[in-house]
Symmetry: C2
Subunit: 248 residues, 2 copies
């Protein structure tokens, strides 16, 4: 089976200070799961060179793919490129192809702030993906994406075919019991199926159920055996409904 792990690094004071609610990380969670990629970390840090460099040093060797969000515009607080370069021990260079594209777009009125957007860590590749006018920048295993949600999404969607892995399969059980009443059955299931991804999510004051159980695996037959095992153990009246296996 083909597995992949990923991490997301979200860069921006505006998020940590509560001015903007980040939606890029949640978008990535759903998209990567649908691709069968295991997202293992999300880290949100301020616009500080040391914080960016340190996060790069920590994350990029440990996960197969690292996505960054934010800090790639033309202003003083856009220091993601410099931070990534520092974390990788590379210089920042002005990429001739990006510079040419920016000059073609801006005409004669170009200024240093616009040209700053042609800066990349030395050795970076440009990726045109499906349907991108302006390429994405990648260096080693790091995809450097813009923070503006519309742009983050369009760049990711244009690149996503690169990341496909084997899918996860999912079964869901809704129960009328509290977690404390069914915990022993969940423990028994995990003892028998240690590779199962078993989630237990209580909901307060929901009109229809008390706990939503999710069972997941990349091995569909294993998932079905675990699902049957747990169903047979749960008190009969506790099972409100189940959902069919599906790729997620």
């Amino acid at each position: 089976m083909h597995n992949r792990t990923a991490a997301a690094l979200v860069i921006g004071n505006e998020i940590l200070s509560g001015k903007v609610v980040d939606t890029n990380a949640a978008f990535l969670c759903g998209e990567l799961r649908a691709l069968g990629v295991e997202l293992k970390r999300i880290v949100v840090i301020p616009d500080e060179l040391d914080a960016i460099a340190e996060a790069i040093v920590d994350l990029h060797p440990r996960f197969e793919v690292l996505f960054t969000s934010g800090g790639v515009g033309p202003t003083h607080d856009d220091i993601t490129i410099e931070g990534i370069a520092r974390g990788l021990g590379r210089r920042v260079i002005r990429h001739p192809v990006l510079e040419e594209k920016i000059r073609a777009f801006s005409g004669t009125k170009i200024n240093e702030a616009q040209l700053k957007m042609a800066d990349v860590p030395e050795g970076a590749e440009l990726i045109y993906g499906d349907d991108l006018n302006f390429p994405a920048v990648m260096v080693e295993n790091i995809y450097i994406l813009p923070g503006i949600p519309e742009l983050f999404r369009s760049k990711f969607l244009a690149l996503k075919s690169r990341f496909a892995a084997d899918p996860y399969y999912l079964r869901v059980i809704y129960t009328s019991e509290n977690e404390t009443s069914i915990a022993e059955h969940l423990n028994a299931t995990m003892a028998e199926f240690p590779e199962l991804l078993l989630g237990s999510y209580p909901k307060l004051n929901h009109p229809e159920y008390r706990v939503r159980l999710t069972l997941e695996s990349k091995d569909r037959a294993y998932l079905e055996r675990a699902f049957t095992f747990l169903l047979e153990r749960l008190p009969h009246g506790a099972i409100l409904r189940t959902e069919s296996p599906e790729e997620v």
Copy 2:
């Protein structure tokens, strides 16, 4: 001036796998800012002992306060207490006061899953805060909060008076220019006022403005001088409107 730094550690496979969109971190961003506390990191990790312990080792010595969200229920995937204890080099013990409260609540039908919720890292304190029936658990500088949003919020709100620091003051400028046209003025402002927190947030396709600039400081007079400095430099027609200083 009284400053404080904080970090948030969000624990849960359901978030990384895209099943649940975390709202606790964003809630904390807004609340901490309003209290004058500088939130420096948000880290989201899976329900894995090693990941929790490692995040604790990394975060708890570096920031004054650390909040955890999630993984404190009765089931197999609720391993936050054990992970924190491991990260701090402490044992897990059953807290007699919590055990008594749970027994009083549950009567004779108590089981091991319920009692598990009385487990804490050795040396943990119980904090009753304002208006809490069931105390929050704190160990060293770590506040261990539940992941269910309603409970996360009520526990945080009951504790928040403990965290108050000096407030931030904020000025906002909405401009009709692109970031690239005003970047030099932002740079000049930062050169003159290096302590200013200056944010530049472009919005695509907004009917009213192109960039929202935020100026912040805990020193109100400093903020006002920086605000005046920047206003005088921006092209006159570029300023659509400004917002008054306020505590945030």
